[in-house]
């Protein structure tokens, strides 16, 4: 499984459970020979006088797979996810999802790839859950014919019906996390990047998240989940990796 001149590792393809992406399974948005996520030779150094946080990371996610990356605090998991999401650029290396780069076809890329950052940020405190979801449905440019129904379906799928008209700043941390997760899955992305998604979630919240991941995998999408080493989720993953000294090590 490992290889490459830089001794970095590569997650090789497993038997895809669905038709290849080139069949147009993702609303005709997908280019041929595309993978849900492909990171090649990713380098990132935050300061010149420090060792690189990512030192030639190669990673490829395949259709219908779940991948977990662990690592100590500050190992670079969040940086890797941010690069994969297209939020920040690597110093070197190539990022692609479904055949698109985060900057050459940014709108398409962000329709396909969704990212849940760690922490509790990213919400408009004074908007209700429904208005929050409506807003992000607008930003995701979801088709007008399904937009409103998608918002309501998401409210139900994430057990937010009772909270739908409640303002976010009046909710508990766990409830807010559920809203953040709902926002991530709302546009029905094909690649989902989760950074410590279980933060503040109760058991019910974790079950709701599991169901959302199952739906993603069922439709041929891919999941990348990062959390600290000692915090491996109970999920069964297709691949487990450790990010250590800027490189991925297979577990």
């Amino acid at each position: 499984m490992s290889g490459g001149a830089s001794a970095s590792v590569r997650l090789e393809a497993q038997a895809p459970p669905v038709a290849p992406a080139s069949s147009g399974s993702v609303s005709g948005l997908v280019a041929a020979e595309a993978f849900p996520l492909s990171l090649e030779g990713i380098h990132k150094r935050w300061r010149k006088d420090q060792a690189p946080i990512l030192d030639g990371v190669d990673l490829r996610l395949d259709l219908g797979t779940k991948t977990w990356i662990g690592g100590r605090n500050g190992a670079g998991k969040t940086t890797l996810l941010r690069i994969a999401a297209g939020l920040i650029d690597p110093d070197q290396g190539r990022v692609h999802a479904w055949g698109f780069g985060p900057h050459d076809k940014r709108s398409r890329y962000h329709r396909l790839v969704a990212f849940l950052p760690a922490g509790d940020r990213g919400l408009y405190a004074r908007l209700s859950v429904r208005h929050q979801l409506r807003f992000w449905a607008g930003m995701a440019m979801i088709d007008s014919a399904v937009r409103e129904s998608r918002v309501e379906e998401t409210i139900d799928a994430f057990d937010l019906r009772e909270l739908a008209d409640q303002r976010v700043d009046r909710m508990s941390m766990g409830q807010r996390q559920r809203v953040r997760i709902a926002m991530t899955f709302l546009p029905e992305p094909e690649t989902v990047l989760l950074d410590e998604p279980l933060t503040s979630l109760d058991l019910e919240g974790a079950v709701v998240l599991d169901r959302a991941i199952d739906r993603l995998i069922d439709r041929g999408g891919a999941l990348l989940w990062c959390s600290p080493s000692g915090d491996h989720p109970e999920h069964e993953f297709d691949s487990d990796w450790l990010l250590e000294a800027g490189r991925l090590v297979a577990l």
Binding site: F135, M139, M183
Partner: protein
């Protein structure tokens, strides 16, 4: 869904979000309306008390300054987009906008719309109160033309707000000099007094910004103030500023965001 329709909807969603957040602060409208009315009252009595050279009557100066007061609100609204970006950076919503298909540049432009509509409404309220309570002499024949003129002026002012939003993305500070820039514009733009009172070199410098001609144009249409140049030349000047500055400011904003992504500072706040 076509890109255009999707963008239009996203634009409306930003507007709806800003309205909802605004309405969630229940006393804000009353507070801002009162501030505007107090300011109006203050300048009414100042105009009664002090003879300002170049004005035939206290009413003429009051008409002059009331348009200036209305435009100060518009200026603040233009620059408020930088502060909104700062709040989005702190809340972590800006990075979500960066990752959205609608994108951060269009989002920031959309964020400017609600404050501008609001400032337009407050300016209308200011003029209406001035007319109803303080006997402001509006030039009704040309008042309707002030609406498209104001829209043009906004297009010329907005680039300054977008440029400061770009600075905020880079510097991570919401008030990167906006207060003193607004104060400076108030002086060289002739919002409170005619720029003919200023030194010659300031008058020359004032020609290189859109605020003075836009203010002149609006004053002429609203209260029939005399114009130094023909209306057509003034409109052309404002339109030229808008045509040049708007693409430049959008480019600066795009560049600031990309640079933040390249250096990784887009996640900082």
């Amino acid at each position: 869904m076509s890109e255009l329709r999707g963008s239009a909807h996203a634009f409306r969603e930003v507007l709806a979000r800003d309205l909802r957040v605004y309405l969630s602060y229940r006393s804000r409208l009353a507070s801002q309306a009162l501030t505007s009315i107090f300011s109006l009252t203050l300048f009414y009595y100042v105009s009664q008390l002090v003879h300002v050279s170049g004005f035939d009557s206290p009413g003429a100066y009051f008409g002059f300054v009331i348009v200036g007061i209305a435009l100060v609100g518009v200026l603040y609204s233009c620059f408020s987009v930088a502060d909104t970006v700062r709040q989005e950076l702190i809340a972590g919503t800006f990075e979500r906008l960066v990752l959205s298909p609608f994108g951060p540049v269009r989002s920031v432009i959309a964020m400017a719309v609600f404050p501008l509509i609001y400032a337009f409404a407050m300016a209308t309220l200011t003029l209406a109160v001035g007319w109803a309570v303080f006997d402001l002499q509006l030039h009704w024949q040309t008042v309707p033309l002030a609406i498209p003129a104001m829209a043009l002026a906004l297009l010329a002012f907005l680039p300054f707000g977008l440029a400061f939003a770009a600075l905020t993305v880079v510097m991570k500070q919401g008030n990167v000099g906006t207060s003193w820039v607004i104060a400076l514009i108030s002086i060289v733009g002739g919002l409170y007094f005619p720029i003919t009172l200023l030194p010659e070199w300031v008058q020359t410098a004032a020609k290189f910004q859109p605020f003075t001609p836009a203010t002149e144009m609006l004053r002429h249409l609203l209260v029939n103030s005399p114009q130094a140049t023909s209306a057509l030349v003034t409109i052309a000047k404002v339109a030229l500023f808008a045509a040049v500055l708007l693409p430049v400011s959008i480019w600066a904003l795009r560049r600031a965001i990309r640079e933040g992504q390249r250096r990784g500072t887009i996640i900082e706040y």
